[in-house]
Symmetry: D2
Subunit: 133 residues, 4 copies
């Protein structure tokens, strides 16, 4: 399962090198993840959290291939790579939406937490929807 | 002249009070300003900067009326309030796009700088386009 | 009552104009406020929140006089301007710690909320400590 | 060669899960890198950039072991892992400075760019200072 979103780079995201500050790409990954979860589960991650299910990033790996700049249109392609009982892995490909140039590729692993922040098995229903890929 | 944009609140923009951290509203104002300048001038602020014209925020005033939360749809209504030879003033009204609730109202004053960061009269062409309101 | 803190500007705080992005000054104000509250009350704002007392920014006004740059040492001077039963006002003066140049002056008004986010009178003890200026 | 710095977590760095938003750890890594470069080379990275030498992050890997929270004191231990002619690798260990608990471990690879943003061999002098580990 895959989701694609487009965003316009904010001035606030640029740094003095004239390009997007590298940590901001992880924020874009989170935006892609939010939308893929909405698409795959029919519910929002916001509602999952209100119901006491949290997914916390336990690992992030990112490679930068090019630079995004202020006012660029950027595309974030998010794919579910693996869904397990206690963790879920997403892959991301970030490109310039106008030129198609690859900007970054990333992977994040998220672990399932219960309402009090302890590791927990994901609810069956959520797991089934994420596994149906 | 007015421009309206919609954005979805990012997880990164929330804080431990469960609402959007207050400084992020200024980032949303900047997004609105970017789009209003594009709409009014037919060029982008990114291109203006490349041509050696910068607009730097010299004053920002913001009142918070309500709270935006993660995953909310937010509307930013940007209006040009005043265009002078060396400065331009924008007003913003930020609302919840689903409920219409007012979240914040703001005003920013920007001063015109030349390519080396010194205060400068705005180019005639830009000034004319901004003044035609 | 006044508190002064020094911080070193982070690369992440710069933007493509080569200076600190304007919204980040509000983050520095919050840092100053955190330390002044610790100094005045003998407790931390973190502990206040854990005890169900929140102070939410309801208004922020800032004027920019100069530019901070990456790696600059910056000084934030925070002063309590007014303490009332339901709100507290802080003033800030932000300067370059090496040259003394004024960078920004700001004022924020914060309103007292209870544990469920509703406006509330500040606890007597907190109010007394803040009023003793 | 190793450098240790301490920082106090800002409110702005927290998210609605009540912990530091994961992307902010990369900002702390950058702070550690800035100080280790100052210590090892006797010059600042800010001055290197002014002299036309840039180090751009080409890869970042981070594992999260625990959570930092608002107002925590955090320690960032930065180590130079490898210095090559065109790239330099840093390792980071981020801990809670009060309890010693491990919060995150990270590695970033940076590539050397010239003044116009093209990959370039690092200046001999810089390379020698970084290699002397």
């Amino acid at each position: 399962m895959t989701h694609e979103l487009e965003l316009r780079v904010r001035y606030a995201e640029s740094d003095q090198m004239g390009v997007v500050y590298h940590a901001n790409y992880l924020v874009w990954c989170e935006m892609g993840r939010t939308e893929l979860i909405r698409q795959m589960t029919g519910t929002s991650y916001a509602d999952l959290e209100r119901a006491g299910v949290a997914l916390a990033v336990s690992e992030a790996n990112i490679r930068y291939h090019g630079s995004a700049r202020y006012d660029d249109l950027v595309r974030v392609r998010t794919t579910l790579a693996e869904a397990r009982s206690r963790s879920v892995t997403f892959d991301y490909l970030i490109t310039n939406a106008s030129t198609g140039a690859r900007l970054a590729s990333a992977r994040t692993v998220l672990v399932s937490l219960d309402g009090s922040g302890r590791p927990a098995v994901m609810p069956d229903d959520l797991r089934r929807k994420l596994a149906a890929t």
